[in-house]
């Protein structure tokens, strides 16, 4: 098939940026979306032009590195699918596809479609862990965990930290990302001791990074490639409020 791409090009964080149009032909429906970009980049290099910079690594939908905003949707049209797993059979001959980077103040553009998501690391540093040094653990079966809770914790832990939730949100809120980690650890007995501080500190860091507030529109859940549930945000709100009431100062 033949397609027209409108791709965001931006030399660096200072550059203003603009869309550029590219015609691509001989696109096979078995190609992944990123393979279509590989083919285009190969052509641009051969024509002496600069290829389009985009983040990608595992191409199996799990590392969370790929991050394209396609025709107004984070990771494109398929449900629960990262950009790297989106395949060209999703499109028809003659389609025009608009590709942009994640757009959020907390995710500055590095180049073209590549953004800086280090804010997510800093939210994790604020409390997204259980303080257990290597060697301190008890036997793994010493604490039985209700399968239902364990499964819910796993569902929350499936977050790949790609930032689609932020990109999809009109407020650029990072609530789904933050709530997924808070939920995972709140659902497990191991996470108990640091539960309150974790909720308070991670939310504080999220605000400090410049992410917006949550207004419960649910766009994040709709676009999340791992199907992280909005229920996690409700849980984060409960955790946050309970922690606020429960602290002495």
């Amino acid at each position: 098939m033949k397609l027209t791409l409108q791709v965001w090009r931006q030399q660096n964080s200072q550059d203003k940026g603009r869309f550029e149009a590219y015609q691509v032909s001989d696109v096979s429906e078995d190609m992944s979306f990123l393979e279509m970009f590989d083919v285009l980049n190969e052509r641009l290099i051969n024509e002496g032009k600069e290829p389009i910079a985009f983040d990608h690594d595992c191409r199996e939908g799990i590392c969370g590195m790929c991050s394209m905003y396609i025709n107004g949707r984070a990771h494109g049209p398929w449900e629960e699918t990262t950009t790297c797993q989106l395949h060209m059979r999703a499109y028809n001959d003659g389609d025009t596809i608009v590709v942009e980077p994640w757009r959020a103040a907390a995710f500055p553009v590095i180049k073209d479609l590549t953004v800086d998501r280090s804010a997510f690391d800093r939210i994790m540093q604020a409390g997204g862990y259980i303080s257990v040094n290597t060697g301190n653990a008890v036997d793994a079966n010493a604490i039985p965990i209700d399968k239902h809770d364990a499964d819910m914790a796993f569902a929350a832990a499936a977050c790949i930290g790609c930032g689609a939730c932020v990109a999809a949100c009109k407020n650029s809120s990072a609530m789904l990302f933050t709530s997924a980690k808070v939920s995972q650890l709140a659902l497990l007995p191991q996470g108990g001791p640091e539960r309150k501080e974790r909720a308070l500190d991670m939310v504080a860091q999220m605000d400090k990074e410049g992410f917006g507030s949550c207004t419960n529109t649910g766009a994040c859940e709709a676009e999340c490639p791992k199907g992280i549930s909005l229920a996690n945000i409700a849980r984060l709100n409960r955790e946050f409020i309970a922690a606020g009431f429960g602290t002495e100062d």
Binding site: P51, A53, I110, S118, Q125, Y129, I130, A140, G161, Q184
Partner: protein, 657 residues
């Protein structure tokens, strides 16, 4: 002769004796010692976090935008541990034995025993961190079995075990970053090792966003930079996975162990066209329930579901009745290649076999129906229930398969074919994980490791975390205890200046070529040579040709590669060029190693060395050694041998029949 420094005494007490007598560093001195960790996968993240917890000052580097993205994240199936939670006869000895046997008797007994010994503590540590492993209704941990074993010792988190383990280690690492014990450098790539008076004392790294070179000092340097499967261009590795850190270390004096030992994983989604950029694994755990077959008739073009049972050849069950579909990876891969080469392959390319879940769906469906007290459920109901069970076990893998191929694996068998997946070879290390350069360590897949000539499924995660959580915290202390008087070396030391100059010259040279072809053009050409002549089957003539072809290709690369953009900016093509330049050297060494090893063992199959029925034939008389190569200059390497002594396990013909 290489000295692996394996502690004396019986196998069972080597590690505990080592730990009890190893030199220690007191907490006040740890604060003054700096350790560089390159790579933040399971080995790197666990090592960086654990060393920081002990009090060392750690600097961690990764080329991705976050430490959480390292390719360990993509491991699907599980992690082995000798917990014997299933009461099915597992033990430290059995895990050790299975690993040595699975590796076709080309690994060190001492190392493998230690690996099995610490395996149980890994699971404890991960659970304590909040890793949500699969559980049974009673709340206890669930297990499944993997290839090459007859017990259930694999712990898992759906098909995302690597992700959950890595996020556990990453969380521990982030905690240490917050505490100020680790300084994290993401989007940084190590481009050389700095040696002072023969010891590793730092690295030169490139900030991939600004393109600037940086000098970093460390009392010790840990390379946890993963494997080199991408030398084949197409592999299950991430696009960025590369050999550069290990290769630069090799050129600075670290020997490279068994470079030809590569693992071709049997169950991957087949190549769909020239645009293919990578291959996707379908977890080995699928072989617990999936049955592998091809039609009995050559060039059978019927749909899989139209081929009746009696016209199907379940060739693994036929050839290996004892292990069936759960034979080790090398055996399963070669068997698939054999069928396809003979003309029994399926799909458009005919380079694929079926992995079929129809039987498992019915079996599980009947169990579910029986649980509901409905022993006479109609077939549709049974299949519906069975699909539900299969979805719970493998749902994410089935979804991934459907997205990539456009086919529904619940209705029609998956098409699979072997693909490059893991490299058992890597930097040679002694028992303490130190390379032949003092102060330079290699952990995880980056070292030549504990897997011999073939790694068993669910053992890579085990080894990466064993090295990082439980081995290096002890062994690095044994070295650093003698470094407490070494002051940080100033970054204007001639060794830093000279090394950085060399890195700068290579970057200038690459940017200056401005030839006609992209980096990928050369990478694909290299991959084709490697796959055709140093892949699943190798022979003398092919390997000799490959060496010549790689030399020619390398010369072309340095004459004709085109790298757009500038050096001092974010430039992914320049990053790729440096990595491919190193692959073009490594590929040649892999072929040389494959050429010298005139035996078949594990993943290394020399066509000249096979039994009458096509099984791999080992030659213990001549090749019971680790081949460790020393870099002597362009295209010049010297082979050193570390003899393998088997005191407990006696190498025998590896039979899964």
């Amino acid at each position: 002769m290489l000295n692996a420094k394996i502690p004396a005494g019986p196998l069972e007490t080597k590690w505990s004796n080592y730990k009890s007598t190893v030199k220690l560093v007191n907490p006040a001195n740890k604060r003054k010692l700096e350790v560089i960790v390159v790579g933040t996968g399971l080995a790197g993240a666990s090592a960086a976090a654990s060393l920081a917890e002990l009090g060392y000052k750690v600097k961690a580097f990764c080329f991705q935008d976050s430490a959480r993205r390292a390719h360990s994240i993509a491991a699907q199936g599980g992690i082995n541990a000798a917990k014997n939670y299933q009461n099915d006869g597992d033990s430290v000895f059995r895990l050790f034995y299975d690993t040595v046997k699975g590796g076709d008797y080309r690994a060190r007994e001492g190392n493998v025993y230690r690996l099995a010994e610490v395996s149980a503590a890994i699971i404890d540590q991960c659970v304590a961190q909040g890793v949500p492993f699969a559980r049974e209704y009673g709340g206890l941990l669930s297990n499944r079995s993997f290839g090459g074993t007859q017990v259930q010792r694999t712990f898992y988190a759906a098909g995302q075990t690597g992700q959950q383990l890595l996020l556990g280690a990453y969380s521990a690492l982030q905690r240490q970053v917050a505490l100020g014990n680790v300084k994290m450098y993401s989007r940084h790539e190590m481009l050389d090792i700095v040696k002072v008076d023969g010891k590793a004392r730092g690295i030169i790294a490139r900030d991939l966003v600004s393109g600037k070179l940086e000098r970093h000092f460390g009392h010790a340097v840990l390379l946890c930079s993963g494997g080199y499967g991408n030398v084949f261009f197409l592999s299950t590795n991430a696009m960025g996975s590369n050999v550069t850190a290990a290769w630069k270390a090799h050129k600075r004096g670290a020997f490279f162990g068994n470079p030809c030992f590569t693992q071709i994983h049997p169950t991957c989604i087949p190549v769909s066209g020239d645009h293919q950029s990578k291959l996707t694994l379908m977890s080995e755990s699928l072989r617990n329930d999936g049955r592998i077959w091809v039609p009995k008739k050559k060039d059978d073009n019927r749909k899989a579901t139209d081929i009746p049972e009696e016209e199907r050849d379940y060739y693994l069950e036929r050839r290996y009745p004892a292990f069936g579909n759960l034979v080790p990876r090398d055996v399963a891969s070669r068997a698939a290649k054999e069928r396809c080469d003979e003309g029994y392959g399926v799909g458009a390319s005919k380079m694929a076999v079926y992995l079929d879940f129809a039987d498992a769906i019915v079996r599980y469906g009947k169990i579910e129906a029986s649980k509901k007290g409905d022993d006479h459920a109609v077939q549709e109901e049974v299949i519906k229930l069975g699909k539900g069970v299969v979805a719970e076990k493998y749902g994410n893998l089935f979804d991934m398969y459907a997205k990539i191929t456009g086919e529904n694996p619940y209705e029609t068998p998956m098409r699979i074919y072997p693909a490059v997946h893991y490299t058992m070879g890597g930097l040679w290390v002694d028992y303490e994980l130190m390379t032949t350069v003092p102060g330079l360590y290699a952990l995880g897949e980056a070292n030549f490791s504990d897997h011999g000539a073939n790694r068993l499924g669910a053992s890579a995660l085990m080894q990466g975390l064993a090295d990082g959580y439980f081995v290096i915290p002890y062994t690095v202390g044994n070295y650093l205890a003698d470094e407490i008087h070494t002051k940080p070396i100033p970054l204007d030391h001639p060794a830093f200046v000279e090394t950085e100059k060399g890195v700068q010259e290579q970057l200038d040279k690459l940017m200056g070529i401005q030839g006609k072809h992209s980096v990928d053009h050369f990478h694909k050409a290299l991959g084709k040579i490697m796959w055709d002549k140093c892949g699943m089957a190798r022979n003398e003539k092919g390997l000799q040709e490959a060496i010549k072809e790689i030399q020619v290709l390398r010369a072309e690369f340095w004459r004709d590669v085109r790298i757009p953009g500038k050096q001092h900016e974010f430039n992914p093509e320049l990053e790729k060029a440096g990595r491919v330049a190193d692959f073009l050297e490594l590929g040649e060494l892999m072929c040389m190693d494959a050429l010298q090893r005139r035996e078949s063992c594990g993943g290394h199959f020399r066509e000249e060395s096979q039994t009458e029925d096509g099984e791999a034939k080992r030659d213990d008389q001549q090749f019971s050694f680790v081949g460790a190569w020393e870099y002597k200059g362009p295209s010049s390497y010297e082979l050193h041998k570390e003899a393998l002594n088997f005191e407990v396990v006696h190498p025998s013909s590896r039979s899964y029949k």
